[in-house]
Subunit: 406 residues, 2 copies
């Protein structure tokens, strides 16, 4: 297209007044509908008791009910006794963990707040909400480049030799936003990492553990058993949730740890709460213990066409625009796009002005600053297919407009 | 009874091997059954949307849905916009509030952790889980005696003149364990309190706001509107929950604050979570907005006979044992018993050895230390009536045994 024609097309979108949102990794209504069975999973008093006889309506059972622990142990590849089942937000528990280390200290060390000058490793592109937590606690964020099979482990080892470096954020499978799954080598290198700081925390946010989209899904080694072999297990905090399995606003989550780290975590947790919602645990455990595979296949059948529609547009852009590259992940919620350097912000704001909200450019880097101004996270799950097609057509125009300028 | 006969009776209980638990304020199965309608309150997709069209299954809506805000605003006597609806544990949110002040600072002040030497007022007898939170954060706990209509306000004012005193724990209605409801005078004096510390926090844990048991229920003035009139509203953090309305393990809770305090609270909360379980909010709001009064009358009809059974035993003890006194609250979950000085620990351990678990003696005081060793919290709600009768018969023997010794 000529520039004038592009501009005319762009103005047409802008003046249409339509609003589209692709800014966050949200399930679509169709996915949420897939889980309607949860609403009626427990419908009478007899249904309110866990397999070991706990009345899930009443107080108690700090670690969560056995069937929910088993569900998450299976997803994470850990033992049931490593798991503590929590509420609808794993992010909340990640925050709590960082807070514990900062305010009370972990592994017998001084609280981070008193040690001062603490640093945290942030593989990037990464997840903006992770970075927001470390920023709030005042940790200096150190960017570690994401390579094709995980973070640059040479750099991770180098930085971890500094006792001020207190941990690292990881999304080890179908990483947000790159879609990368950590290779066996990377997982083994994590498991054998010997950080200088005794209170080093690997936040292993396995949010997309079972979120395959293709017939050739990635596989991830379970890091906790490997870390146990290496005597490093206390450093690992594994998280997952049903936010993108059942309902983002009404699911359950968990944290899994070594025996020692769990005992330490529960010491604080027991002062804070008498336990999380056990009826939510019971509903989820019952439905998902019998049908997790089917549920994820249903979700994939909804999401996969959206990813493919993106690829159709992105292939044309990649063919026409040198420097436009994109990921084709085997699962997860995002497509990672890189546009020519210096163009990401401009593209995102062109889109926003015309009614399409994208993840802010830079959000995938610590401090919201993408040094190359080139990374854009595409979150195609929430819109319907027709909405997505409109969004992609507009995105296409914005990319071409921005890249046609010098 | 003679001492020998008492001892024989006691040994009979002890050798029976029965286990009874009156240690915590837990609803009974019968109360939980009263709320079975919650299980089927939402049974299809159309039912999942809030009154303003929010899909409660998905992410978003940090402050909670309007109907749940309205439910709690009504219970607390505040405006909807003051309310943030949270998860199944109000204790968790009290912890978070103290944590915010300690770790990040509130009202523009330095974090308590950096100020050092902070103190907190603890009306006693009071709630052990409150004291556990302040203890964990290392605040020095100052006991303020509970009088017949609330904490000793002369002392509260005196202590609050010290800028190191950072707040006070309050259970203003049917207080745990005394059953006292703060009089209008006390509430007004709270509302007009001018603490030296700008970051003074009144934790107003209104857990028993609608938990009347008699035909002459207590009434509590709403403190937040009065505090607004006095320009002190930013100090007040009001809490309530459905833990003892619906299900202790699967309810919803809230915090209510001034506009300014709320904005500050949400600044941290938004880093921590994308929002609490909105389907739980929707189920509760729908059922309770139409039937809260009926629900609480059903609960009262279950609980009241248990309180009356206690009174039957306690009246005999009071007649026989000088210094045995007990409360007859108009609502709430506890009966407050005072035994002759120096006897509480002995009575509780006699009971425990014979199979009856009571709240540990001293738990109702900061650091678990009742200076007079005389206060025992009786929590009669959880056992069935026959179980309660057995427990009271044993308690009676334990009191008489302990008090017969010199």
């Amino acid at each position: 297209m000529q520039n004038a024609r592009l501009s005319a097309e762009y103005e047409k979108y802008k003046s249409s007044g339509k609003k589209l949102d692709m800014s966050r990794g949200k399930p679509s209504a169709e996915q949420l509908d897939n889980m309607t069975g949860l609403l009626t999973e427990i419908s009478d008093i007899d249904g309110c008791f866990s397999e070991n006889g706990i009345d899930c309506r009443n107080y108690g059972c700090l670690e969560g009910i056995p069937e929910a622990k088993r569900l998450f142990a299976g997803i994470l590849g850990v033992r049931e006794e490593n798991v503590v089942v929590c509420g609808n937000s794993s992010l909340n528990i990640m925050f709590d963990l960082i807070n514990n280390a900062y305010t009370f200290g972990i592994h017998g060390c001084e609280p981070w707040s008193r040690q001062g000058g603490i640093k945290f490793l942030c593989p990037a592109p990464g997840y903006d909400r992770h970075f927001a937590i470390t920023k709030l606690f005042g940790a200096e964020m150190i960017t570690v480049p994401m390579l094709a099979d995980g973070p640059d482990m040479d750099l991770v080892r180098k930085y971890a030799a500094d006792p001020c470096v207190k941990g690292i954020w990881c999304v080890p499978k179908y990483s947000n936003p790159t879609g990368v799954t950590y290779s066996d080598r990377v997982v083994r290198e994590f498991a054998s990492l010997k950080p200088a700081a005794k209170d080093f925390a690997v936040i292993w946010d396995n949010a997309y553990a079972v979120h395959d989209l293709t017939d050739t899904p990635d596989t991830l080694l379970s890091v906790l058993p490997l870390a146990e072999e290496n005597g490093t297990a206390d450093h690992f905090y594994l998280f997952t949730s049903t936010s993108k399995i059942s309902w983002s606003g009404a699911g359950i989550s968990c944290i899994a740890m070594s025996e020692k780290s769990k005992a330490e975590f529960l010491e604080i947790m027991k002062v804070k709460t008498i336990g999380f919602d056990k009826l939510a645990m019971l509903r989820h455990a019952r439905l998902l213990c019998r049908s997790l595979g089917d549920v994820m296949r249903m979700h994939a059948s909804v999401i996969r066409p959206k990813f493919e529609l993106c690829y159709k547009y992105f292939e044309r852009l990649a063919a026409d625009i040198p420097g436009f590259v994109f990921s084709r992940p085997n699962g997860g919620y995002f497509i990672n796009v890189n546009v020519p350097a210096g163009k990401a912000k401009q593209i995102v704001s062109l889109a926003e002005e015309a009614g399409l909200k994208l993840t802010p450019a830079g959000a995938t880097f610590p401090y919201g600053k993408d040094p190359a101004d080139s990374n854009i996270r595409i979150a195609p799950t929430y819109p319907t297919l027709p909405e997505l097609e409109e969004a992609l057509a507009l995105f296409d125009i914005c990319v071409r407009l921005a890249c046609s300028e010098q």
